[in-house]
Symmetry: C2
Subunit: 110 residues, 2 copies
Amino acid sequence: MTNATAMLTALGDPTRQAIFERLTDGPLAVGQLADVLPVSRPAVSQHLKVLKDVGLVTDRQDGTRRLYSVDPDGLAVLRAHLDGFWERSLAAFQQHANQDRERPDHDRDN
Amino acid sequence: MTNATAMLTALGDPTRQAIFERLTDGPLAVGQLADVLPVSRPAVSQHLKVLKDVGLVTDRQDGTRRLYSVDPDGLAVLRAHLDGFWERSLAAFQQHANQDRERPDHDRDN
DNA sequence: GGCTTCGGTAAGTCGTAGCTTACGGTAAGC
DNA sequence: GCTTACCGTAAGCTACGACTTACCGAAGCC
C-alpha cells in the first residue's frame, strides 16, 4: 500500500475529513477541534494520529497544547496520485474514442 | 455530505481503490475485475454500485456483460475539491509565516 | 425451446473501525 | 508543592461494512 492509497484510506472516514478540512484553514489544537466536532477529545486525538501516520498532518508543541497543521508535502503526494488517475483515464478514453472511429460500424455501445 | 466528500468516503476502501485504479486504464466488465481481484464477483458488484452512486464510475451494457468505466466528470469534482484543500492550506501557511515575521518575539495567539 | 454466460440482489456471518469512559503524564500558573 | 489545563493511551463496547453463498433475471448461442 503506497502512501497515496493509505492517505485515501485515512480520508475515508467522514470525521477525519472534517478534521482535515478544518486544518486547511490553519493550525488548531486538539481541544479546539473537539469543541467544534460532535465527537469527544480522545476520538479527535485518535483520528489525528491516523492522519499523522500517513503524512497528511504534522504536529508541534505549543506550551501545554499541541497544534496540528496539514502537511503540504503529504497533500501534494495525494494530489499527484489523483492527477495520475486523471491522465490515465483520459488516455484510456481517447484510445476508446479512436477505436470507435476506426470501426464506425462497431457494436452496441449505449 | 457533498459529492466530493462522498467520493472520498467511497474511495476509503482499499478494494474500491483497486477497482477504480483498474478502471483508469480502460473499461472493464464485472467478471474481469473479479478475476484479477482477491474477492468474489458479487463483492465487486457491490463495490461498483457504491462507486456508481457517488458518480465516480459509469456503466454501459455490452451484450450479456456490463462494462464499467471511470466518470471523468466525477473525477474532476474530486480533483477540484483536493485543489481547494491545497489552496486554502497554502494560504493559511503564508498567513502564518507573515504573522511570525510581524511578531518575531513569538506569540500566544488566543 | 434449452443452455450458457454474465451480473445484480438477498440473507447472513464476522471482523474491525470508531466511539466512549477512565486513567496517567507533562507543562504552566499560583 | 499543589492545582489546573491539555493531551495521549488503554480497555471495552457497539454498530456497520465488507465478504460469502445462494438465488434469480436478462441477454446471446446452439
